[in-house]
């Protein structure tokens, strides 16, 4: 049995303060910075996506979860696999209020199903999809085409910081948290400004190491990749 792969953010901060002999009175400041570092990791480096089943309303609208920072993909379920929606910038994202209720007015193209021109001759438009989406970031809504009053899968990036439970950090990213805290000390502890550049480099190095680890493929993955590109033939 060895040490766990996930530790709470409190433990990460405690370890840092212990290692660098820091006063407890700054624990909350370090915690705040550690949360910032974790959010950045989730946004840019870690593959920790949130996969969530979300409801599509009768108008074909998905309300974006409050913790969504970055959108990754929208999918329907097809034969045990997920089928990806295609981004369509031309979807109509307005609605019409009638008698106090939100509706869609076909006269303005609202809620009208997309009709892809399809051809089997030369000069065709290429691939089409049965499912499209467009995000209205201002209203934090996703308008979809091809499905309504149903449930789909939404993959997205969150801050990773839990509001109700314990926030965990993968220990592989602990050096990123440590170097981030040390770097930020340069800005809030008087007299340490001159170390900012060196510490930022140490942080970037730690980020790159973590990113390499996250994105590195195993031998089996490479083998599967190569095999998937070849065509089997009978050996005579």
């Amino acid at each position: 049995m060895t040490t766990p792969a996930l530790i709470s953010i409190n433990e990460a901060v405690s370890r840092y303060m212990f290692k660098f002999k820091l006063p407890l009175e700054d624990a909350f400041i370090y915690t705040e910075h550690a949360c910032d570092a974790l959010r950045e990791l989730h946004l840019h480096d870690l593959p920790n996506l949130v996969t969530s089943k979300v409801a599509v309303s009768a108008l074909g609208i998905i309300e974006i979860p409050s913790d969504l920072i970055g959108f990754n993909g929208l999918y329907v379920f097809v034969d045990g696999h997920k089928w990806k929606f295609t981004y369509n910038d031309n979807l109509i994202t307005t609605t019409t209020t009638t008698g106090g209720a939100e509706t869609q007015d076909e006269d303005y193209g609202e809620g009208v199903a997309v009709k892809d021109p399809k051809t089997d001759t030369y000069g065709g438009v290429g691939g089409v999809n049965d499912y499209y989406y467009k995000i209205d970031w201002k209203a934090r809504r996703i308008f979809v085409d091809g499905i309504a009053s149903d449930t789909v899968i939404l993959e997205y990036v969150s801050s990773g910081i839990e509001l109700t439970g314990t926030t965990y950090i993968p220990v592989m990213a602990l050096s990123v948290i440590d170097t981030y805290l040390k770097w930020k000390e340069s800005y809030w502890i008087p007299g340490q400004e001159r170390y900012a550049e060196v510490r930022e480099k140490a942080y970037n190095d730690a980020v790159m190491r973590t990113r390499n680890f996250v994105n590195a493929k195993t031998y089996e993955e490479w083998r599967d990749l190569f095999l998937s590109l070849t065509t089997m033939a009978p050996l005579r």
Partner: protein, 210 residues
């Protein structure tokens, strides 16, 4: 050294004007208190972590109660003794903990941080981390949990000389030597020598304590 021994040592180090000269115990204690605070301040300036060596524990046998102030909703524990004040946020309350060791940790904060943490910080969402603010009469808590309210807390305090019982061991930083090479007892005696006792020759200080 226990408190009464310290007092006795100081008393016997003082120059007496005659064999019947007497000293107020409270005067001795007051000077001891001043010098002790001064020397602990020197320890603080050298290494705030070292102050933990001079604390007295409270709530170790019976936990100190966590109470709620009805008008403000603030959770607090009344200080079991007066404390000495130091410049950091923990002041004379060097440590707060749950009666048994748990993952819940207490960290000193101040009112300014309390206000900033409470509105829109990530730190506000992190569990098992309780902030404590030291005021002159009580310790207030931020992020208090039901578990700790039930269990109570224990504290390590740095208290003034006057708050020790005569039989209590008073830990003073004897390793701190001033510019003149003087430690705790020497400094107390020096201060008393500078304030010679008034001798009432008509009644041999009969109204004075020894």
């Amino acid at each position: 050294m226990i408190k009464s021994e310290i007092r006795s040592t100081v008393l016997n180090s003082l120059k007496r004007y005659d064999s019947t000269a007497k000293f107020h115990q409270r005067v001795l204690d007051a000077e001891c208190e001043f010098v002790l605070h001064q020397m602990l301040g020197e320890v603080f300036r050298m290494s705030p972590h070292s102050l933990q060596r001079y604390t007295k524990g409270y709530g170790y046998t019976v936990a100190l109660a966590v109470l709620t102030e009805a008008s403000t909703g603030i959770y607090y524990t009344t200080l079991p003794e007066n404390i000495l004040v130091f410049l950091d946020k923990a002041s004379g309350v060097r440590r707060v903990a749950t009666p048994t060791q748990t993952s819940i940790k207490f960290y000193p904060i101040d009112q300014r941080e309390w206000d900033l943490i409470a509105y829109g910080s990530y730190a506000n969402t992190v569990k098992n981390q309780i902030g404590y603010i030291v005021t002159p009469t009580r310790v207030e808590y931020y992020g208090m949990t039901g578990e700790v309210i039930t269990s109570g807390v224990r504290m390590d305090l740095i208290i003034p000389f006057s708050e020790y019982a005569d039989t209590d061991v008073v830990l003073y930083p004897e390793h701190i030597i001033g510019e003149e090479g003087k430690g705790f007892i020497d400094r107390v005696v020096d201060r008393l020598l500078a304030k010679p006792q008034t001798v009432n020759l008509s009644d041999q200080n009969k109204d004075k304590e020894e």
